[in-house]
Amino acid sequence: MISLYRPGTSLLHRMPAGPKLVVVAGLATAISLLPANPLLLAAVLVAVAGCYLLAGTGIAEAGRQLWRLRWVLLVVSLSQVFFLPVLAVAANVIRVGAVVLVANLITLTTRTDRLIDALERALRPLRKLGVNSDRVALMLSMTITTIPVIAGFAARIREAQRARGVTVSPFAAVVPLLVMALKHADDLADALVARGAD
């Protein structure tokens, strides 16, 4: 989900982030409520493909994303295939895939800063309830920045465990990961102060 943005000038790229979020949320809801009708499902697939063409990323991009989702889709189908008729299972798989593809259109065509700006604006009315939308936006940005860093820590721990011939257990990695993440948070807090946040 991170760093999916592809620069471009398509209609979807030019659309302001706020309305785009609303439209996509509407579409996703509609798709997930869709009845299991073969014609409708085919139409959804065509419509999603059309959206990707409209975004200027090509249908291949949609294919790449479905490939990344293969395990999720597999689990969805396996967990249902014994209990539901085939058409219903196919409908569910298509719904899940289509919703994710449509949601990803936002990250594909919207820069993170625009997205966060839009969220910040959406949260502004909550200011009366004590929500500092500025802070929330900054926190979201920092989270997006930090996820790859933490992922890097996890990779390093796994390598270190392998190098020492330790059997790689996810549980043995939790404590060092937590330590590294906390140290990182501490350093990041210093940087925030040094760079004049707050």
Binding site: I2, T145, V149, R195, G196
Partner: protein, 231 residues
Amino acid sequence: MSDHVIGFEHVSVRFARHTALRDVSVRLEQRRIAVIGSNGSGKSTFARTLNGLIVASEGEIRVHGIDPAREPKQVRQRVGFIFSNPDTQIIMPTVAEDVAFSLRRRGLPRAEIRDRVTAALNDFGLAAEADSPVHELSSGQKQLLALCAVLIGEPGLVVADEPTAYLDAANSRRIAGFLLDRMPQQLVLITHDLRLAARCDIALRFEGGRLSDQGEPGPVIARYEEDQEQP
């Protein structure tokens, strides 16, 4: 713009069980100031007092006329800080956003921020990466980004705490070249790379929290190396 003087008068910094700086007095006007000394000698503590990240327990500090303890906001506009680990000083998800982060709260119009960010990224050879996620950069590029984000705020002093510690030789050279030769700002450079210290105008040496030696970098470094060779 008043003066480019850093003044310490009998400054001590105490932590719960440890005294990290002991009675440091010094007046610095040089452009490039090297800080050397063994691990744990107090170099980072000294650096952090310059922008108020650490407040002195005793004594007086003036950085370009500002008391960091009393005016932390002003001092942080005046003093840019570069940490060793580039990962811990990048706050925003993309390169251009992170540089722009330094200009928020300056009350500048969006268009001007964009123009200044573009110009700064050009300066640092990061223009092609403007919209890239920061985690796709190399360590060298990340440190360049950190430097770019600091300098766009137009500080009068740049404090760099072992800025080349995470970099390979080529990237160290690039960053050091920028700090030592290209940048007009006053520089406090904490470093274990004695060749970089030798290129400064003055060197300070800390040992056990005391300012144990200072002066022309050449002789200060020579005495430091001599002491390290003895057991």
